[in-house]
């Protein structure tokens, strides 16, 4: 029946929303904890248009270069997601973990787990706390793969350094909303892919680098490597990343106000960068000229573009409104993805 509901919703979608969903769902259902983005990188490559030539640098970033001349505009979205890394294999066969990125630990407690390997994923569970501790936050989490000894866990293929997440699924909700985990920042990756599919390369006035970056969640590391490489030559940078929205029954409404479904958002002020007001105005003008829905706001979080700022590069981050960030049930509106893809294309072609 849930499938039937999804089918009805799919029939009601416009072709733009359908295409957005097709791209996004494949990205969301791939796994790529920070430092282990290879599966996502392969999905991105598969979804790019045929004319694109990609390069992968030593940091794992995927580059798509287009346009002619000097001084590229960089448009960057990150491929990685939050999760864990196997830090130790304990004598009792359980796995000690290290967080990769920031999130609410209790959301993973007592849930199914997947240990990602080069071959098939190994199923397990995030163990429930074993004491009578009834405060909200659990002690450090451990994972069981059903083994009772270190050798038993190793015989299943577990190794220190592997990454761990919980199983995830892209699911449509009412209207054009959808839920899943790691929309941050697969929405950004999807926006770049959708923009590249419709990009009119003859309109480009300067080179544009579409960059799919690594290790954003653990300190903007992939983008940092790209920024060091391009340095002061960069004309402008647009990080395409989540606008964490207060459009939720649980959030204060004193900032981060951007409604789901009302379009892309200029992330004009966050914890890592401030967009000069004149650039915000220019962006608004470009969106207006093309009839693209745009909201302007301020939220929390850092963005990959901020790694270019020390080189004298202006960062104009763009996003989309996201509910319940870094949780297993992030929510987005597909209409916002369409709007964001249009805006990415517009800043590449018109600015």
């Amino acid at each position: 029946m849930i499938l039937a509901l999804a089918a009805i919703l799919a029939i009601q979608d416009t072709s733009r929303v359908s295409e957005a969903q097709s791209v996004l769902s494949q990205l969301v259902e791939s796994y790529g904890v920070s430092g282990s983005e290879a599966p996502v990188r392969e999905v991105v490559k598969r979804l790019l248009p045929g004319w694109v030539k990609t390069e992968t640098d030593t940091a794992g970033n995927l580059w798509v270069r287009t346009g002619q001349g000097e001084g590229p505009v960089v448009i960057v979205a990150h491929m990685d997601e939050i999760g864990f890394r196997v830090d130790t294999i304990n004598a009792d066969g359980t796995l000690g973990l290290r967080n990769r990125g920031g999130f609410i630990l209790s959301l993973f407690e007592a849930r199914p787990a997947l240990i990602h390997t080069d071959r098939a994923d190994i199923p397990g569970i995030f163990l429930p706390r074993d004491s009578g501790l009834t405060r909200r936050t659990p002690p450090p989490l451990r994972v069981s793969v059903g083994a009772t000894t270190r050798a038993g866990a190793e015989s299943l293929g577990v190794k220190v350094g592997q990454t761990i997440t919980m199983p995830k699924q892209y699911v449509r909700l009412a209207g054009t909303l959808a839920t899943g985990r790691s929309f941050d920042d697969r929405m950004g990756c999807a926006a770049l892919i959708l923009a590249l599919r419709t990009l009119d390369r003859s309109k480009l006035r300067h080179p544009v680098v579409f960059l799919f970056s690594t290790r954003e969640e653990i300190g903007l590391e992939g983008a940092g490597a790209a920024a060091r490489q391009l340095g002061t030559a960069t004309r402008r940078v647009h990080a395409i990343d989540t606008f964490v929205s207060a459009d939720s029954p649980l959030e204060l409404q004193n900032f981060a106000v951007a409604k789901l479904g009302a379009g892309a958002v200029a992330r004009a002020l966050d914890n890592s960068s401030i967009t000069p007001p004149a650039y915000v105005d220019s962006l608004a003008g470009i969106a207006r000229a093309r009839g693209i829905a745009l909201q302007i706001g301020t939220t929390n979080g850092g963005n990959d573009g901020s790694t270019f700022v020390p080189y004298g590069v202006v960062d104009v981050p763009l996003g989309w409104p996201l509910r319940y960030s870094h949780s297993p049930v992030e929510i987005v509106d597909l209409k916002d993805l369409v709007s964001l893809a249009d805006l990415v294309r517009a800043v590449a072609e018109d600015w």
């Binding site: 569970i125 009834t134 909200r136 029954p249 981060a256």
Partner: protein, 314 residues
Amino acid sequence: MMMEQAVKRQLRRSRDNGGGRAVAVDRRICFLTVSTAVAVLTASLSAQTADSLAIRFSGMTAVTGYEQSMTDSLLALLPGSVRDRTGNVTVSLGRGAPKRLVYCNLDEIGYAAGNITDDGYITLRRVGGGARLYPLFDQQLEGQRVTLFGRRGPVPGVVAVRSTHLTRGRPTGNEAPFTVDNAYVDVGAASRDEVLSLGISLLTPVALTKRPQRYGNGLLAAPNAGRRAACAALASAALARPRVRGTVVVAFTVQSLYADTAGLKTVVNLQGPFTDARMVTLPSKFPDTPVETVSLPDVAALMADVVKWIGGSQ
């Protein structure tokens, strides 16, 4: 395959030996061997049935008092089964005295829609639990997928959680567990009318979305895996056409967690008296959590034990 080969070997020997008596003996051996093969095959198929039913049942939802969709499945699964007005599913095996009862409890603690806000969120009340409730039971909802079993079919939703990013720089002092009073279910609707149009109304049952996880060597993790695996063992035993001593009523009871075990009492009052009764249960690890874990070989062993009990063995 090994049994088949043994049978063929016996037949070959009988042809080689000739002689009526030897043939008769070999035919008996052949009959016994085939019977053993059939028994082994049946046991193996039953174990498979128990495994697959444990996984299937663990994926089902039966909030106490709202068990109908699971009992629909049981009625379809078990030939000759009936449902009483309380919702219990029973099937009667054998005939005559003694009359005995074997049952499992199939319901679970869950939630029902308690209110729908103007802006399209659904708030909840818990169904079942009480003083025995695991203190972190409700917290297991926070930031997770749920399914709402509405009049037009299941509807996916999520339970709202604060965005990690928006907690930064703000005091987080509240370390009290999340409770059902904090639960806002988001189905993607923007208004009460939109929620109602999805077939969701007050009292719609709500539960964590279930995706049973197999792991390790024959382990199965899922909410209420212990109860569901016990019911799977009972259903597999009933499906195995066991030898029956007297009459055995096999019951899948509802509302064991509410209204003073109304389901079981109904079965006893409608179909009793019984000379003996057995509740089928299975030990589990991590009870009352979404990863309650059972061992699938234990399910098969429990099924075999229930078959014996139905046949009159202790």
